[in-house]
Symmetry: C2
Subunit: 215 residues, 2 copies
């Protein structure tokens, strides 16, 4: 089985490809935009692995929450490939992918910066099945009630607590493939792909505001 997996919800573009001859990983993090970098990375990855898009049997896709622009680039790219070749897609919670980067007995808390004053966060303690958007104050309160925990993600700098090292703030290619393959049964058709935006984008909020003001 040929499996392609990617996440674009963080500043790091992470790609993984499993073929009959092994696993290929590729990533980029830098000053260039996901919109500029993703397509050539994907093309080089398939070329390196000697695979065509039509040979891919399954796609794993980090659907957020996270950087909205990055997510849109990743999701629309996969929509294109998945719809063209009718490849099923396993949708992956990007915060959960990040949570797999450290192994600890303590509860893991993944926090990503959202718009000013807010974070996307999820506490991996068995009681919080979904990511949510919180105000920084609200989430500080929640954390203050947990005795010990490990913080991951670029939002961890906003809170007190033990912080995981920075390399572990982004999904790992290994995790992407592993999660995709272990959730193959949850795969959906491209028409059912649904980003975990969690909060409305600033553009939508502005539009809502203007509408309420009768503009």
């Amino acid at each position: 089985m040929h499996v392609l997996a990617l996440d674009t919800s963080t500043p790091k573009i992470v790609l993984a490809l499993r073929t009959d001859s092994g696993d290929f990983h590729m990533s980029y993090m830098g000053t260039e935009k996901h919109a500029v970098r993703l397509a050539p990375l994907l093309q080089n990855l398939t070329k390196t692995a000697d695979i065509e898009f039509e040979d891919i049997d399954m796609i794993g896709l980090g659907v957020g929450p996270g950087n909205l622009t990055g997510l849109r680039i990743g999701i629309s790219t996969i929509l294109g490939i998945s719809s063209t070749f009718e490849i099923p897609v396993v949708q992956l919670n990007s915060l959960e992918l990040i949570s797999k980067n450290v192994s600890t007995n303590l509860p893991k808390v993944v926090v990503r910066k959202a718009r000013k004053g807010f974070v996307y966060a999820q506490i991996f303690d068995g009681n919080h099945p979904k990511p949510r958007v919180y105000s920084i104050e609200e989430f500080s309160d929640i954390l203050s009630k947990i005795e010990e925990y490990v913080l991951l993600g670029d939002g961890s700098v906003l809170f007190d607590g033990e912080k995981a090292p920075e390399w572990s703030w982004y999904p790992l290619a290994e995790t992407l493939l592993h999660e995709t393959i272990s959730r193959v049964k949850e795969a959906v058709r491209f028409t059912e792909i649904k980003p975990l935006y969690v909060q409305k984008s600033i553009a939508e909020l502005n539009l809502g505001g203007r509408k309420r003001n009768g503009v």
Copy 2:
């Protein structure tokens, strides 16, 4: 500064490239040999990053210990690039690279399988500055005297103790770049590159045996 870094001491080929526009990572682990895969990976990495070998200012190289054949491929490839363009090389202990994959307050122990009955290992507790080859019995004894520790590397399956997850048994591209850049002052000319083979290869041992036997 353009920095290339790689490690070929494990079954996973790990490559990293820092350019002015950001960091590119690439890796392969599978059924094909390092000798077959390394050159095309390297070529695709530089192509993806739009960099020529002659643009590279510094190279970081995992010099082992680890799989001898893999190490030889990696080291000879870098010898070629480094000697052609006079690029300085930072030599990195491959077990130390692996040790950076987990963050824990416990001592970290990196163990790699060597020839039958032996392991390459290093205990990262501040008292063991160098990797060594141990017999499995000898190293079991040593571990039995440490109260708590975390095991990493493919040799960890041979011993009792808390094991780090399998993805953390191989150097991370992030660590390769980080270590190379933080040790730039230790860079050497290609003529001074010295693999950390630690033990003699089986071929050398056989030769020694035959010599001792007067063959």
